[in-house]
């Protein structure tokens, strides 16, 4: 560790890490993915959906298993399809108000993992799943970066259209409804976006870390934000900063890129926590 740090200081010029094609791609991807997650995270946190993407991640197992079973070749399709189904069902059950949001999410997460494991115990394929456990942002290709970029643009547009409604909804559902917000529609659009983004990027972030990337920036920003604007801006900035910093450090410290980014986010969270408005 210390050695590595020394290396970091002495041996390498700061731009060295960008001399590799895969690092440049990873940097571009980070510059797109982190703000995307920073944006979506604010509302995920505000709506008590801190484990929604974790559930989505775990349900990826079932998506893959079902895909294998149905003979769907393209994993992304089975992932996104299953993610969307889970997202809509969670929202629906949540709104019958029989249990708190986290319990409902937990139930679906559990059920879908168990289903996935049972299917896989017939068909093998667990190896595929464990490849998704820890993703690899270094493996992203230019075409995929472009796709993500368009996703980012689309999300930003939808965000601008939906934001106020989502905000009211996050304060109080019934109040939002009385103000003429189509609460179910808005909520469904939101979870659909999250599901799509999560499932699209799970390959690069990994099941174990995807939730962190969504929640940590927004949670950190919450400690110091005193308005919705600040929340959004801080969240995006923190995500971006930690993304780039983490990626760079991972190169010099010789650690896994995704985990290092998340670790940077965690550190920033605790700093923000200490300096929170008390």
């Amino acid at each position: 560790m210390i050695n590595a740090l020394l290396n970091l200081i002495s041996e390498s010029s700061p731009y060295d890490w960008l001399s590799y094609g895969f690092m440049r791609n990873a940097l571009l991807a980070t510059l797109i993915i982190t703000p995307l997650f920073g944006i979506l995270g604010t509302m995920a946190v505000n709506n008590n959906m801190a484990f929604f993407s974790d559930a989505l991640g775990h349900s990826a197992l079932t998506g893959i298993a079902l895909g294998v079973l149905l003979g769907i070749d393209n994993e992304i399709i089975s992932l996104v399809a299953f993610g969307v189904i889970i997202a809509l069902t969670v929202t629906r059950v949540k709104n019958t108000k029989t249990a708190s949001t986290d319990t409902v999410i937990s139930v679906f997460s559990s059920a879908s993992i168990a289903l996935g494991l049972v299917i896989l115990s017939y068909g093998g394929g667990f190896a595929k799943y464990s490849a998704y456990l820890i993703g690899d942002i270094l493996s992203i290709s230019e075409a995929e970066i472009l796709t993500l970029f368009f996703v980012l643009l689309a999300v930003m547009v939808i965000w601008a259209l939906l934001y106020n409604k989502l905000l009211l909804l996050s304060v109080n559902r019934e109040l939002a409804a009385s103000r003429g917000v189509k609460v179910s529609l808005v909520e469904n659009i939101f979870v659909l976006i999250v599901a799509t983004v999560v499932m699209l990027s799970i390959k690069w972030i990994g099941i174990l870390l995807i939730n962190s990337l969504l929640i940590l920036p927004a949670a950190a920003a919450r400690n110091i934000a005193r308005s919705s604007r600040q929340h959004l801006v801080f969240s995006v900035l923190i995500a971006l900063f930690c993304g780039v910093f983490g990626l760079m450090s991972s190169f010099y410290l010789d650690t896994a890129a995704g985990a290092t980014i998340v670790l940077a986010l965690a550190v920033v969270f605790f700093i923000c926590y200490l300096f929170r408005k008390k």
Binding site: W159, S170, E174, R222, R229
Partner: protein, 250 residues
């Protein structure tokens, strides 16, 4: 208060034979009445009478039998009207970084709250806050407000955009004396100058007497309806409030 050109399109809300069941129990039993624009209808009744339930049915949040229709002056039925709602309790996430400004803005514009807003919007928010004497709270987050302050902010939110129907569930519970006085002034103004229809739940019978044009005494069904004097003089009123808790039929 400025006239926001919102006029009065709504004439009356017809509640027709509304019943609500939950968990096998009848909470409301074929309720029928009308709310007129330009009138304050007070809903009174013992605790658990079903007042909140009735309001939520009108808001469309609770499944119910029977029909609730909004009619315009020329008799057409309206699909969507502007409703202002002050809930009895506001369940919300106290840690959310949502400021009073954010909350009020999000209810009145489509321009995302996180963008910079034209002067117009700012004035409108400030004006609303002035109505409830809470100008100083504009930068507070909702979680940092006292009980009465929240209630005031809810009132401020409910009054813009100018509602055609105002639904108030114990709106001034927790609000201090001067706050509730000025609130009732605003309400009267709204009613008289903008012909808003108002449904209000209150346990303060003095207030009901002073401000209500029509009083509805509820206990699962409509026990009595009329102006305040009529209702207060009725047998049912005496039974409800002066002889223990109304009957429960579990």
């Amino acid at each position: 208060m400025k006239n926001n050109g919102n006029g009065c399109g709504l004439c009356e809300i017809k509640v027709n034979n509304v019943s609500v069941k939950r968990g096998g129990k009848t909470l409301l039993n074929s309720i029928s009445f009308e709310l007129h624009c330009g009138e304050l209808t007070a809903l009174i009744g013992v605790n658990g009478a079903g007042k909140t339930t009735l309001l939520k049915a009108i808001l469309g949040e609770i499944k119910h039998d029977g029909s609730i229709t909004f009619c315009s002056h020329d008799g057409r039925s309206l699909d969507k009207i502007t409703i202002g709602y002050v809930p009895q309790f506001l369940d919300f996430d106290r840690f959310a970084p949502v400021s009073v400004r954010d909350f009020l803005l999000s209810g009145r514009t489509r321009l995302p709250v996180y963008m910079f807003h034209p002067k117009k919007h700012k004035f409108s928010v400030e004006e609303s806050l002035r109505l409830v004497s809470c100008e100083k709270l504009i930068n507070r987050t909702l979680g940092e407000l006292s009980g009465g302050e929240i209630q005031r902010i809810m009132l401020a939110g409910a009054l813009f955009p100018m509602p055609e129907l105002l639904i108030l569930d114990e709106p001034v519970s927790g609000v201090d004396y001067s706050g509730s006085e000025s609130f009732y002034e605003v309400i009267s103004d709204l009613k008289n100058n903008y012909h808003t229809a108002i449904a209000m739940v209150s346990h303060d019978l003095g207030i009901v007497k002073r401000y209500a044009d029509k009083v509805l005494l509820l206990n699962k069904k409509v026990l009595c309806m009329g102006n305040a004097n009529e209702v207060f003089a009725s047998k049912e009123f005496q039974e409800s409030f002066f002889s223990g808790l109304g009957e429960e039929n579990d």
